[in-house]
Symmetry: C2
């Protein structure tokens, strides 16, 4: 029996750079490896110089990140990537620019995440999206959720500000009990709105991890697992 | 005043993949950044499929990793890297193959590490090399040390076996007190041989960190700092 050669993953990274390192760490963790050679080859453009997504999407007037991301995608394809992914939830607003720039498949972290919820827990009809306000304001989860008959719910305005504070705390290296407690209360807030599960749609929130007392999927984790499966040929798009 | 554009770092990685992720994390940590854009762009080939260095160097009969690493270097140069580095001590045995394959500079982690010792502590004349046996057996640190009038010393045979055990423990995720205590005793062993400082020449050993009660430099840390300085143009080779 011959085995098909493993596929090479191309990662559009740098948005921010820590999220890319986090995704690479998760890819390694999700690989059943006894030696180096069992790991997945990833070619990575950890490019923190991509124009600000926040400026372009929310503040207005910023340079369009689309062409830069399309260029990164073309270069990764030319280099030998068999499929691509984008290591950032918010940056998926530019998914069409990336998708149209290449012939190889481009994984969609948001769609994969909602799909994972629907497959693992078909009873979840209201899903709390734990993310920075940019994800809510750009309606990134709405369309994929709708397709699975799921309603996306978000932290209420006051709690959303706290959530942003939690994200900034974690970015600054604070992951202690008070940060975890604050996050727990924000989760309670979306539970009170009827959420039967949550999606962790922000790398920083994935770092504190833990048991939230509710069904949860981590978008970065779903993406990492899919990358390993795609590379090993155990799944196809 | 105009500022020169930042340089792009190319990383030959995957030897192993965790060491590459660790180096990327250190590059981020050593960058004085207020926002994503302040970080260094790194293009990374995290390629765990490079032929085994251990097989080729120590066990014999394995495929030569040189041509594979040269090919990785050429591709990173063609992609737009302004300089290269190799995220693994042992793999520096193939530094000449990489160096001869490209026109751009290639940082030499081992030379940079010994240079850092000589600059920071000119009184250190005996340096303990804390690494896997492959580093000692291939005499990787001997020539750079000689150039600075430094003698490289290694853990004695019994302690070297323990050191390998410590490295394997850390790889398996064990970083508790007993592992730290074992490492502390190995450091004492090289101190008894007259070492006035140690070089951490193995990614795993850098993970436990801590105060060794002796002057120390971490090779991965020296490399990460140099990458940031090279990219920002505050140093040149």
């Amino acid at each position: 029996m011959t085995t098909a050669p493993e596929k090479i993953a191309g990662i559009l990274g740098g948005m921010g750079p820590e999220a890319t390192v986090d995704l690479m760490r998760r890819i390694i963790a999700h690989t059943d490896a006894r030696d180096d050679i069992d790991h997945v080859r990833c070619i990575v453009d950890n490019n923190p110089k991509v124009p600000s997504r926040i400026k372009a999407l929310l503040e207005g007037g910023g340079e369009d990140p689309g062409p830069c991301m399309a260029d990164m995608a073309r270069k990764l394809e030319a280099w030998g990537a068999d499929f691509l992914c984008i290591a950032c939830n918010t940056a998926h607003n530019y998914y069409p620019s990336v998708r149209n720039a290449v012939r190889i498949p481009v994984l969609h972290m948001v769609e994969l995440t909602v799909q994972a919820v629907a497959r693992q827990r078909p009873d979840v009809k209201k899903l709390g999206i734990m993310a920075s306000p940019a994800v809510r304001l750009t309606h990134l989860y709405e369309e994929p959720c709708r397709r699975f008959g799921i309603q996306a719910v978000y932290a209420s305005p006051m709690q959303e500000q706290r959530l942003l504070g939690v994200i900034k705390d974690i970015k600054a290296g604070h992951t202690g009990d008070s940060v975890r407690a604050a996050f727990g209360e924000i989760v309670s807030d979306v539970k009170e709105q009827g959420a039967q599960g949550i999606a962790i749609a922000c790398t920083e929130l994935g770092i504190i991890g833990g048991d939230y007392g509710i069904f949860s999927v981590d978008a970065a984790d779903v993406l990492a697992r899919t990358i390993v499966e795609m590379a090993k040929g155990t799944t196809a798009l």
